[in-house]
């Protein structure tokens, strides 16, 4: 016996009627869904009727002749949605080489979609080469620079249940947006408790910083405050912050922009740094007085209290005074670190 086997796409909420191949309307048949028999209530003679289908009803449907149990018809039902208007974005992070466009659907369709992108520049249609990864992306090389004619990019998404499209029209200069600066490094400056030296590199995707120089925007703040401070730098890839609060940890970010056209990049990865601090000498002598065995590797580590006071309690009242001093010193330390 012959069997028809194919894929059938239906819209969520639709009413689906399946015929058992060439069988008569009033023939006796059994339908299964993914191997499980389907109740007779869904049958209209030999037709299978599914009302208001939902996503869970996707699967393989088979129809068997009543007595012989021959497979008469088989189909794979995929329930889905027609595509909504896609979201399209185009950007030049490698000016003047070209630009790329990337897209996605705002909500899933649950069935396979195909995308077609067209780029028109004046009268000429340009090829946008599809990237392998990421998937929904293509790139174009500029053939001419400083064009007065806009680029018109149309993205069409199609699936078995419908199609939709969106169009972007833009000038060459408006989509220029570099990637964020790379390799941002912030270091304290020895013997300078209010300085931090920040350096970074041009984003590696920017092909020609000589002819198309970038300018930068630096922002920084101590972790404990919400307010950022900003510096705009038209030259160079380093800057020294000279007004940092002593001893406070800072968070620093940098952004880049072509000197003349386009928009600012996203902020770079944040780096943290604390300005140089002088080692507080008076605290090490206090530690020696309490003859603590726990030698701290850094003078910022407070000596453990319990040992001092325990020893002090055993020895006598004199040691209690030492215990109090250590406690005061610790209290002073904690205030300093808040």
């Amino acid at each position: 016996s012959s069997t028809d086997s194919h894929i059938q796409y239906e819209r969520v909420g639709a009413d689906v009627t399946m015929k058992c191949g060439s069988m008569d309307r009033d023939a006796t048949v059994t339908w299964t869904a993914n191997g499980t028999d389907i109740d007779d209530s869904h049958l209209n003679g030999s037709y299978l009727v599914l009302k208001h289908v939902d996503l869970t009803q996707s699967g393989q449907y088979s129809c068997y002749e009543g007595s012989s149990w021959h497979l008469k018809y088989q189909t794979y039902l995929r329930v889905g949605l027609p595509p909504k208007e896609p979201v399209l974005m185009c950007r030049s992070n490698n000016y003047p080489k070209g630009f790329y466009c990337s897209w996605h659907l705002p909500s899933p369709t649950y069935i396979p979609n195909s995308f077609n992108i067209s780029v028109i520049h004046g009268t000429r249609e340009m090829i946008c080469e599809r990237d392998i990864l990421p998937k929904n992306r293509c790139h174009i090389r500029y053939l001419q620079l400083f064009s007065t004619v806009k680029y018109k990019v149309t993205l069409t998404v199609t699936n078995a249940l419908g199609k939709n499209s969106t169009t972007l029209t833009f000038d060459e200069f408006t989509i220029v947006k570099p990637d964020p600066p790379e390799n941002v490094v912030a270091k304290p400056v020895p013997n300078n408790p209010r300085r931090l030296e920040v350096s970074w590199q041009n984003p590696s995707s920017w092909p020609d910083p000589e002819s198309f120089p970038l300018k930068f925007f630096l922002r920084y703040r101590p972790l404990i405050l919400d307010q950022w401070q900003h510096v705009e730098l038209s030259d160079g890839t380093s800057h020294t912050i000279t007004d940092a609060y002593a001893g406070k940890e800072y968070i620093i970010q940098v952004a880049a922009k072509d000197n003349d056209i386009g928009t600012w990049s996203d902020w770079s990865v944040a780096v943290h740094a604390t300005p140089w601090m002088e080692e507080p000498k008076h605290l090490t002598t206090e530690a020696q007085m309490t003859e603590t065995t726990s030698t701290s590797t850094s003078s910022f580590m407070p000596p453990p209290t319990t040992k001092i006071c325990d020893r002090g309690a055993r020895v006598g009242s004199g040691a209690v005074a030492v215990c109090w001093t250590a406690g005061l010193v610790l209290a002073a330390y904690s205030v300093f670190f808040i």
């Binding site: 004046g122 053939l143 400083f146 064009s147 007065t148 003349d260």
Partner: protein
Amino acid sequence: GDSWGIFAFLCAALCHLPAVPALNGTDELGAGQSIQKTYDLTRYLEHQLRTLAGTYLNYLGPPFNEPDFNPPRLARAERVPSATVDLELWRGLTDNARLAANYRAYSRLLCYLRGLDGQAGTAELRHSLGHFCSSLQGLVVSIAGVMSSLGYPLPAGTAAGPPAPAGTPATPNDFLKKMDDFWLLKELQTWLWRSAKDFNRLKKKVPPAVVTLRLEARGF
């Protein structure tokens, strides 16, 4: 260590300055500064144009003032010099060619701009146009200054007088005239963006020449 070497060299160079034969040294120094000035002027003009173009396009009315307006280029519009250029060609331009292209373009753009409808819109608009033309004139003069300080001849046939477009009859069609105005402003805007890049390139190339010349003079 490096900075001390450079400092010492500079001191030596400056001390021996009178002994160095005149090699248009001050001209090159002057060129470096006037390239920077010209660059700054293009940025200023680009900023001014943004406001001016918005106002003028509103005066022209729809569809010219619609942001997505993207008309095909008509053959007649080719009179206006285009900034569009092949990438490799642009990169390979000599300093002379680069400057000359800018000089020719702005001279002609200035002419056309002056020819814009004298009765255009409000008095305020006419005043803004006049002010912009003066600034643009300043740019043309500035470029000429850079060219002469570098020893390049000014391109021929770009005298101040506006060349009456030979053979082209006065536009009877109001729409086509507006289209011409639209493209003029568009080309002007694009040229100002391009010039920023042109002068960036020139900026990088001129200052090192100053140092090299002095080295040669002292027989290094």
